[in-house]
Symmetry: C2
Subunit: 457 residues, 2 copies
């Protein structure tokens, strides 16, 4: 059995490793365009900040380690075509500029996504993306090498954009953060996002929301300013953090269906619509277990799980291999300016888009018991379905005990737990970690009352 893996990051190498362990007879060939395998994309902002020493520190397993494990790993090699009838992939060695073909019995398509970049003059020279470790290393290298970079414009106020904003301010740079949306982080509701904007502003981030980048003004090699539809800001470099677009082109050309989310259509075994071709990671779409939508969610957690499931299915002899990826509930966290930001499930806008009647509650509690020294703050929001009380989503913004607390709401979302039941869960309590009623229990209790459901504690 010959497996060809296109893309040597989380999804691809997880699948390859599973197949390696399960099938002695498998011949495994990995095609990776960049210089690194299996690295933590989420760690890139911390590398840019300087709190991590070397790019290699983010690498979980190197090409050499995979080779030692019995795989063939071709680095700096790009797949250029797939012929699903002949089961052959055409690949190009980027350094030697030489093309050849790789036959396969099974193909795992784990090409990830590429960063969205607007088509503006000057971005080729002064724009940076931080989508791959190579790119993250280029940005930090530029910041350390160039002393004319004092102010940076970041375009895109999602997780990566905000994390990089903090990283650059920690490096002593001034930061303009530009996003065309009315708020930072569109995965939060406006009320929660507004609180986060205050935190970012206080930290020194200069926010320009509701604005789109329109031009870059440079004097030769020196970037001077960026221009938006509403203003003009000093900037010596531009970081583009506008999200990613799934790299579906080759798979689509080979006949794989692409869903409305822009990701490849796969079943719960990670099989594409073309026989012999599996896909996993940032390139696929996943089922949202809350609203039933199909979403393209680009996160390492999903990539790893999907890679495992794909590997099990690829390695399976007939009748074996019963792993199935159930879907996602949109769990995400980050830490920004010493605040933890966490969310799961649907925002109000998403609930409306999904035509789900909902109730929502918001309140502010403390991160520890209120009587402890420095009890901190946690802003809480929770949504539940109006008729049934089913937990639809939660958002937390706080100074502590937030990230892993969202996971409780994630489990409730994934299992369809109602707020009526949720208020009775035996959640932990001790003064350093919260009040006697966990904030999520309080939220469930308030929502039960808000929706007029029973029992109202």
């Amino acid at each position: 059995m010959r497996l060809v893996v296109i893309g040597g990051d989380a999804a691809g190498m997880t699948a390859a490793s599973v197949v390696r362990r399960r099938r002695d007879d498998a011949d495994i060939v990995v095609i990776e365009r960049g210089h690194y395998t299996s690295y933590s994309m989420c760690g890139i902002p911390y590398y840019v900040a300087g709190s991590i020493g070397q790019p290699e520190d983010l690498v979980a397993r190197s090409p050499a380690e995979f080779r030692d494990a019995g795989m063939t790993v071709h680095m700096r090699t790009e797949a250029t075509a797939i012929d699903p009838d002949r089961r052959v992939v055409t690949v190009r060695d980027l350094d030697r500029d030489a093309e050849r073909t790789e036959p396969y019995d099974a193909l795992l398509y784990a090409t990830g996504a590429h960063p969205r970049v607007p088509d503006l003059p000057g971005l080729d020279r002064h724009g940076y993306v931080v989508h791959t470790l190579d790119e993250g290393a280029q940005l930090r290298d530029a910041l350390e090498r160039r002393d004319d970079v004092r102010t940076v414009a970041i375009v895109g106020a999602g997780y990566i954009g905000l994390e990089v904003a903090e990283a650059l301010i920690e490096r002593g740079l001034a930061v303009h953060l530009i996003d065309r949306g009315p708020h930072v982080m569109r995965t939060l509701d406006a009320d929660m996002a507004a609180r986060l904007e205050k935190i970012l502003s206080d930290f020194g981030v200069q926010l320009h929301l509701g604005e789109s980048l329109t031009a870059i003004h440079a004097d030769g090699s020196h970037c001077r300013e960026v221009v938006t539809d509403r203003g003009c800001y000093e900037a010596n470099a531009v970081v583009l953090a506008m999200g990613g677009t799934p790299n579906v082109a080759l798979a689509r050309a080979a006949g794989c269906d692409v869903g409305p989310s822009g990701g490849l259509v796969v079943d719960n075994r990670m099989r594409t619509t073309v026989p012999g071709v599996w896909a996993a990671g940032d390139v696929v779409e996943s089922r949202d277990l809350v609203a039933g939508r199909r979403l393209n969610v680009q996160l390492g957690t999903h990539a790893n799980k999907q890679g495992k499931v794909a590997g099990i299915d690829i390695a399976a002899h007939p009748g074996e291999g019963d792993a199935a990826f159930p879907g996602v509930v949109g769990t995400a966290v980050t830490r920004l300016c010493d605040w933890d930001v966490a969310r799961v499930g649907l925002t109000e806008r998403e609930a409306k888009d999904a035509r789900i009647a909902y109730g929502a509650v918001s309140f502010t509690g403390t991160a520890t018991a209120g009587y402890m020294p420095d009890p901190g703050v946690v802003h809480v929001k929770m949504l539940a379905q109006r008729e049934t009380g089913r937990v639809l989503g939660a958002q937390l913004l706080g100074t502590g005990n937030v990230a892993k607390r969202i996971d409780v709401a994630a489990v409730w979302c994934q299992l369809g737990v109602t707020v009526q039941d949720a208020q009775f869960f035996d959640l932990s309590y001790a003064p350093p970690f919260g009040g006697v009623w966990d904030l999520l229990l309080v939220a469930a209790r308030k929502l039960t009352a808000e929706l007029g459901l029973s029992p109202q504690l």
Copy 2:
């Protein structure tokens, strides 16, 4: 409707408040033996440590506030008898030494527990307990007033004993910690407890495990040393933290059934076996949702929920009041010497006692992504039922991101989730909070393999 509440702490006052809100016609009378209502017992060690200024800081609502809300609150008043046929409680005013009766339509028995104290000469003079806020205040007062107290012996290595040990060391005292068990914290398995013992020893706690207090040697008012069956240790005061015994006496005398756990038998509406008498809080036994046992668990979280449920049922007109307390899964956390200790469900010993065939895995991970500066340590243990894979329990001991993480395992325990399913949950991930595979997902994955269940990711 006349409600008499015996015991003015979490369970009693929560119930009283619910009835107050739901029934304008209710006449509510609260009988409380001590000086405080509705305080955080879990905060007492922090008050002893000195990180909280006044005992009153731990009080959520004072007698005056309850009176303002329209209740009659008798402080320093003790119930001495219940006549369930005439529906009358006999009470004694402790300051005036005067007895009288209080008639009731509904009686809420929320008398809590009293500390276990061995019958040894000298303990009356040199022994302290920290079960009530009055007692906690007495201990701190003694520590601040007496300069001859340099070394303290603590008897009992449960949550309170260990928290007080840390508090006293932070106050500059030497601490001998004595427990007759072979390990600290019997709610943990021996392997996890041993790790905690190392942490406590490194912090300066002198552990004497497998030893029982047998005598106290004093020179008049000055306590000199404590004697155990295996040694003799300098100590100028003794803190007894040997757990609590439910205060069931009056209820038992009135005919209420007491369960094998020592707590009052109640149904899920918190009704005792005697008509017109409800009970809630540390005095009752609860159903363990993992093993089906009945347990007496003395925790504020349960007291509050049970108080709500009792209040709803007491306030209910016929056909109303559908709140039911579902039971507990044994969730508990604390912070000790900058480590978080958390547990839920069954230990190995408890699983054996319940005759549940189980598998267990233990491993050590990091509190953040491994490549972050100072990634910390988290020791993880998880148990699952051998045949079904059902999550039976988990124990975590770590330097961060532990307390609220145990709640995910608590929800799994409470809902009967299997490790096979658990490994697919969409739990949060970002480098400051852990690796891309949450430690609980790793544990579930390892257990699935350990038990030979499918799918094995």
